[in-house]
């Protein structure tokens, strides 16, 4: 994305650490996320991924290190839809626009546009969240984030509770939105395959204290990756000794360090 010029925004983390009381959950996290790229942080439960995302989103005060967020607008999607139960789907999607002071008619029009792209019709938009299926709720949650046209999207295990079909659909929606404009995405997941499918860079975190153990780059466009490629790359990652150790998998597999390179992955 160098052609965008020197003003292209980045998210930069340098030596970020965090402790809850005496318990250090994150230490020495460095990250460089430029516009238009998708970075995934993968790791086992309890490695501090969510804490890291909360720090980036400003939901937690920064204790150690520095976070420089050059993006003007960021938006979040969480693991649970977290919709307001007393607002219709349409008003839920328009929530962030309302917070920005967009007048009612304009924000409803924008929300409706975004919703239509996600296959939500007017009947669904008039309903309250608890009348919608889980899949519909997730669509509303993603629409609520994307309608803000964020240039930085933070995903906190956003797809981990969904069935495969719905996952595939939301992946498509996300990549389509990302193809339209240079949106940076920082996603947290414990699903290696999801990271390998969507991300330009996969950072593997290890617990106690949470730190980045290793990273991999995939330079091809995520939208063009085939299932076979994704499986091969995931298998390649799972063969890596550092990755296995991070997830607490025993006995480093008979190493095939060339396998990952053969399917397009590069160790950072």
């Amino acid at each position: 994305m160098a052609h965008i010029g020197v003003t292209a925004p980045v998210l930069e983390l340098a030596g970020v650490g965090h402790a809850y009381g005496a318990c250090t959950v994150l230490s020495g996290i460095d990250l460089h996320l430029p516009a238009g790229r998708i970075h995934a942080l993968v790791g086992p439960s309890g490695c501090g991924k969510t804490t890291l995302l909360h720090l980036v989103a400003g939901l937690l005060p920064l204790q150690d290190g520095a976070i420089r967020n050059g993006f003007a607008r960021s938006a979040c999607m969480f693991q649970q839809p977290r919709l307001l139960p007393w607002k219709s789907a349409l008003d839920n999607i328009a929530l962030g626009l309302k917070a920005r002071g967009v007048p009612r008619a304009a924000r409803h029009a924008q929300a409706r546009d975004q919703a239509r792209r996600f296959g939500l019709d007017d009947t669904a938009l008039a309903q309250y969240p608890q009348q919608l299926s889980g899949g519909m709720q997730s669509r509303v949650a993603l629409a609520r984030a994307l309608v803000l046209s964020p240039d930085l999207l933070l995903l906190d295990e956003a797809f981990s509770a969904l069935d495969v079909g719905l996952k595939a659909e939301l992946y498509r929606q996300l990549l389509a939105e990302q193809a339209r404009r240079p949106m940076a995405v920082l996603m947290i997941t414990h699903d290696l395959m999801e990271a390998v499918r969507l991300a330009h860079a996969v950072w593997v975190m290890a617990p106690e204290p949470g730190r980045i153990a290793t990273g991999f780059r995939f330079d091809d466009a995520p939208a063009q990756r085939t299932d076979a490629q994704v499986y091969a790359r995931t298998a390649g990652l799972l063969d890596d000794a550092t990755v296995r150790a991070s997830f607490g998998l025993d006995a480093p597999a008979p190493a095939a360090p060339l396998a990952l390179a053969a399917v397009g992955g590069l160790r950072c």
Partner: protein, 263 residues
């Protein structure tokens, strides 16, 4: 707001039709009263028709309306004061763990102090003015409303609070879109409880402290050993409470909480 009023008017007939069960059970109570009155001395328990005739007489000579008006004004002033102050302070207390812990014992003291104790203090402070019943009603209504508001804020889902922070909701939007809709489901039952308390306490306060209002009228009927008159006033008070609660508060509550029942 206009929407809520319109919905209230549109929903009223269906709501009233749905009230047949309640009306039937009230009529059953009336029947038991009539049955009991056949066995008891009319001085102890007059039959309902005598009482209703007495009430009718009180209403037609215009006396009852002005007394009910005075009592209603006092009860509703105290209730409205409590509703405003209690809801606001309760919600503020709910925002802070420290404030909530500090407020608990105070509220327990308020709940534990008998209304008659407050009444005596109020008579010393305010004399025979309107201040006495209004203050007593205010103090008696305050605890349930305060606790309801505090609980409402404390039980708001932390995940939704985090979401509101992540989407940078400004303070006013946070109040109206996040806190109030949730807190109302705690506040409405508390308001209804407090309304009942206000009606009871105002009559007690008037009985002892003022020269007009339903309470004072009850004091007169008591001194004249007029059981039918006493019961007539009681029926008038209970009837007006039921009207306010079931014709006003309940339908508004249903409308505000529509999202909950559609699940």
């Amino acid at each position: 707001m206009i929407g809520i009023v319109r919905q209230w008017l549109v929903g009223l007939p269906a709501y009233l039709w749905g009230g047949w069960g309640a009306i039937a059970s009230l009529l059953l109570l009336l029947a038991s009263w009539e049955f009991a009155s056949q066995w008891l001395d009319p001085l102890a328990l007059p039959d309902p028709r005598t009482v209703l005739a007495t009430l009718h007489g009180l209403l037609t000579d215009g006396n009852a309306w002005s007394e009910l008006g005075v009592t209603g004004r006092r009860a509703l002033s105290g209730f409205a004061l409590s509703l405003g102050v209690g809801s606001a302070l309760g919600m503020l207390a709910g925002l802070s763990m420290t404030a909530a812990m500090m407020a608990r014992p105070w509220v327990t003291v308020l709940v534990g102090t008998p209304p008659i104790g407050w009444l005596v203090l109020a008579m010393l402070w305010f004399g025979a003015s309107d201040g006495t019943p209004v203050f007593t009603v205010f103090v008696a209504c305050f605890p349930p409303i305060f606790i309801g508001a505090m609980q409402g804020v404390r039980t708001l889902d932390g995940q939704l609070r985090e979401m509101a922070q992540a989407f940078a909701l400004p303070p006013l939007q946070r109040l109206f879109d996040l806190y109030l809709p949730h807190v109302l489901s705690y506040l409405f039952p508390a308001w209804i409880t407090a309304l009942g308390v206000s009606w009871k306490v105002v009559v007690m306060a008037e009985l002892l402290a003022t020269a007009d209002g339903v309470g004072a009228a009850l004091a007169v009927t008591r001194s004249q050993l007029d059981t039918a008159g006493s019961l007539a006033w009681i029926v008038a008070v209970v009837g007006s409470l039921l009207a306010v609660e079931y014709l006003l508060l309940e339908p508004v509550k249903r409308e505000v909480e529509r999202w909950r029942t559609l699940a």
